[in-house]
Amino acid sequence: MKPTLKTFAVAACFLIFAAGSGARERVPPQTYGRVIIGNHSAGAGLAPVVFDHWLHRARYTCRLCHVDIGFSMKAGATNITAATNRQGFHCGACHDGKRRYDGKIIFASCTESPVGKEALCDRCHAWRKNIAHENDFKAFAEKLPKDVFGNGISWEAAEKSGQVRPLDFLEGVSLKRPALKAQKDVSIEANVTWISDVVFSHKKHAVWNGCEVCHPDIFPIKRGEKKYTMLEIDEGEYCGVCHGKVAFPLASCEKCHTRPTF
């Protein structure tokens, strides 16, 4: 089949789109997925909180935070306060000064202790402050499988190889669920001929998200009922709720469009 003028025009549009997405998303790897939370910080005389997804997703699944603890998928929508943290909700669900990760106590969030208060608050309220953090991104990332975009880490490969083992259960917060049954992969046909179809793996996504992170809030439609467009996804709908913000960005076309064309 000879490529037509229309095919070239669509391909050109796609390249411009991909280049645009790539350029927009090329933030330094350590800041990809960073969320600045400042709903109440200024009122308390503190800098906004800098939340790095890479550090937390290396340890916990998306579901643990966005379902079990109840963090909204929209930045700033959770309405976290020092009081809610102290009551053991939101950040305080883990950051309570008692829970441990890898044998180490997780520091308490929003403590009222006057001793070294400034230094304690700065661990999270770090926006535009030059704070040396205990967890160094470079040291963390150098051991993990590489990727081109996003954090520069292939999280999928890291999870598959066991280098990253995100916990999906938090005592006293999470529910003891039965083992998740893997669903079949879903093939999503591309509308154009110059890029392969998408093979959506339920298994890969369910490891991090379970079912309820995606259904029905992000994907309320049933299979085949909706034609997704890259423009909608680029605007943060459907796959774009995570991809382009925390999960690998849209410039990594080949990660989704994987169906062999020959």
Binding site: V67, D68, I69, G70, N79, A83, T84, Q87, F89, H90, L175, K176, R177, P178, A179, L180, K181, Q183, G210, C211, E212, H215, P216, D217, P220, K222
Partner: protein
């Protein structure tokens, strides 16, 4: 006969003491125990419903319908909780309910 009367008086007195102590001392142990029991009650129901999300696809339509109804019945009880707990658990309950309803609708369409 006198023994029976004495026994009844003792039971009545004990019951009256229990009622008075709950009414007079609002923060006493009886009341706290009652609240703790009620709290456990909604939480146990919440856990019993929402732990089924991961195997929702293997549930029958009837089971799914029952779970959706239980979510609806539990909602007013969670709405009585304190602000943050209410917000967190209403959101969690909504996610469970919506997933069950979504799976049910998908299965009914098949």
């Amino acid at each position: 006969m006198r023994k029976k009367i004495a026994y009844c008086v003792f039971i009545l007195a004990a019951a009256a003491a229990l009622v008075c102590s709950v009414a007079v001392f609002p923060d006493n142990a009886f009341r706290s125990a009652g609240i703790a029991c009620a709290q456990d009650d909604w939480k146990a129901e919440f856990e019993d419903i929402c732990f089924r999300t991961d195997d929702s696809l293997s549930l029958t339509n009837e089971e799914l319908r029952r779970l959706v109804s239980r979510c609806d019945a539990l909602k007013p009880r969670i709405e009585k909780l304190d602000e943050t707990e209410r917000k967190v658990f209403l959101q969690r309950l909504r996610m469970c309910r919506d997933l069950f309803a979504f799976v049910l609708e998908s299965q009914e369409k098949k």
